[in-house]
Amino acid sequence: MAILTIRDALNQALREEIIRDENVFIMGEEVAEYDGAYKVTRGLWKEFGDKRVVDTPITELGFAAVGVGAAMAGLRPVIEFMTWNFSILASDQIINHAAKMYYMSGGQFSVPIVFRGPNGSAYQVSSQHSQALEAFYANFPGLKVVMPSTAADAKGLLKSAIRDNNPVIFLEQETMYGMKGEVPDDEDFTIPLGIADVKREGSDCTIVARSFTVPQALKAAEELEKEGVSVEVVDPRTIKPLDIDTIVASVKKTNRLVIAEESHAFASVGAEISHQVMEHAFDYLDAPVKRISCAEAPMPYARNLEVLALPSVEKIIAAVKEVCYL
């Protein structure tokens, strides 16, 4: 196993899939000659040239649509948004076109496309560049939504996303690109979409975390262990389809649930998980489900306010103690 950053794991996945399938190409702003705004596509243009690695004008709606049309006509585009915040300009293509095409055409035109890029906050990039959009996209039938939190997951899930015949929303996290982890060397290494991963086993409380909050939850679990609290951390990895069975099994074991998420709380993925756990494991809960989410305000610039707005290890620890009545 190699030790790779999430950035390089994603790069490897792209490279291997470009080699594996001649219909795979990556398109987006600064993905080619500039080597990627966050260097996820570093070296790919030099290796594969203009056909497979395509710089676009700053025209999110337009190049998202080119991806949708190309996918309908048999290619497998990977469309990079420099950040998911910019995908909002392209959301008509993602929601009204990509998500509905297979259904609307009576199963004739599938749209095998991956939309990917960094989601959520970075360091003080303020209101318009700090949004976590998973709940928005997860609301629409026809889309799969994926959020890796480790280098191995990033690589294995991106390869599966590219091979999937549906539009996949692949949400990375800018502050996590440099995080390192073990990644299997096997070029056929993939992780199926729709399977959660128990990142740490425990018996007193379950934390469901995704992307940005997974390292925080693991850190919180370490701290809580010192105080004698055994925490299980479940990472769904794929938001849609959601592996609710793994989450419910964990809750049935621990009887307590904290959900940590970078998005806003209202109508969030955490709200959905909370509802589904109530549906499937109501009698197993020893305390109300607790959520840690982003504050109900646009993201402020000032560092102290930004920290205050976001989930943190401390907030997660406090939430676990609350549901454990400690």
Partner: protein, 382 residues
């Protein structure tokens, strides 16, 4: 003759697209049907005759260059398209068709002139006024009508309705309901054609109102930048729903907008099916040979309302009548007669044949079962 289809649809009370259910609306429909019956004939020679003298010369030259069979087929397809849409209006009024329903009456020369200039392996994508274009690309009238009925025998099994006809087999990439959305998708289809090599092209249809969407500009920029084999066909019927082009577009010369992207363009008379065919053929050749795009502004006029629920208060009867004088079917028919390709009896035969095909389509749609309830959840994911 199909019975009454008015340029106005039902009533003011249902301008939001829902069909009239109350008696006031029904009365309005009746009144409009009486006053505007003339629109409904496949071609009304009395109206259409006057300006014909100006047009026939232009058509005469190209008639010589085309096979008689092709010319006859083009006329047949125009007549079939109109008969089909007239029948749609008729069955819509008795509640057989739900939702939105946008008819192509008056614009037949655009679809026939352009799509019949393609090869079978080329692609077409269009907006929501898609019934006739779908048939021209090879979807059967039965499948289109059954789709309008929301039946399992429809082109997409009853999941799409009027605005969403599709056929992967025939290269018809859909009718689309978001104004301008399909311009970018069509650009992507041409991107794939270029990526794969070969010399296929994409025809991408949209109305003039779609030019006011950002997608139009984003798409033309990329298509010219990357030299994509796409022909953008702006069907300028002069109204975006109830808003005239003059009230919505700061610079009205659409073909000139292509200059902003360094793209080839042409203005075409959309009432002249041969002019449409010639301009489209030139654009197709450019796309096949150099892989470069073209913008065609094809000026036409819809004789009906925007949709079946359009009260039609935004244009005058005189304006509609003036445009009907240049009915594309009449102009073409007269030119073919003049060139001795065609006689009146041939036209009668064509009309009869078209009506039979439409009747067969209606019968198929009536008899086709509604989709099974399990279909609600099929085709959500591939």
């Amino acid at each position: 003759m199909a019975k009454t289809a008015t340029q106005a649809g039902t009533s003011k009370t249902n301008a939001n697209g829902h069909r009239a259910k109350n008696s006031a609306a029904a009365k309005t429909v009746e009144k409009m049907e009486k006053s505007e019956k003339a629109v409904t004939d496949t071609v009304n020679p009395k109206i259409a005759k006057s300006e014909h003298q100006d047009r026939k010369k232009l058509q005469k030259s190209s008639i010589k260059n085309l096979d008689k069979e092709l010319l006859q087929e083009m006329l047949y397809q125009m007549v079939l398209g109109r008969s089909f849409e007239q029948k749609c209006a008729e069955v819509y009024r008795i509640g057989k068709i739900g939702g939105f329903c946008h008819l192509y009456i008056g614009q037949e020369a655009v679809g026939v002139g352009a799509i019949m200039a393609l090869r079978a392996d080329d692609y077409v994508i269009t907006a929501y006024r898609d019934h006739v274009q779908a048939m021209l690309k090879g979807i059967t009238p039965e499948a289109v009508m059954a789709e309008l009925y929301g039946k399992s025998g429809g082109s997409v099994g009853g999941k799409g309705g009027s605005m969403h006809m599709f056929s992967k087999e025939k290269g018809f990439f859909g009718g689309h309901g978001i104004v301008g959305g399909q311009i970018g998708v069509g650009t992507g289809m041409a991107y794939a054609q270029k990526y794969k090599g070969g010399d296929q092209v994409t025809l991408c249809f949209f109305g003039e109102a779609a030019l006011n969407q950002g997608m139009f500009h984003e798409s033309l920029n990329m298509a010219q930048l990357w030299k994509l084999p796409v022909i953008y066909i702006c069907e300028n019927n002069q109204y975006g729903m109830g808003t005239s082009q003059a009230r919505a577009m700061s610079m009205s010369s659409i073909s000139e907008k292509a200059a902003g992207y360094g793209m080839a363009s042409e203005f075409v008379d959309g009432m002249d099916v041969l002019a449409v065919r010639e301009a489209t053929t030139r654009a197709i050749e450019r796309a096949r040979k150099d892989g470069s795009p073209t913008l065609l502004e094809i000026r036409c006029y819809r004789f009906m309302g925007h949709s079946m629920s359009d009260p039609g208060k935004y244009r005058t009867g005189d304006e509609i009548k003036k445009n009907q004088e240049r009915d594309p079917i009449f102009l073409f028919k007269e030119s073919l007669k003049e060139a001795k390709v065609f006689g009146d009896e041939d036209f009668t035969e064509i009309e009869t044949r078209a009506k039979e095909v439409v009747a067969k389509a209606v019968k198929f749609a009536e008899e086709s079962p509604f989709p099974d309830e399990k279909e609600l959840f099929t085709d959500v994911l591939a």
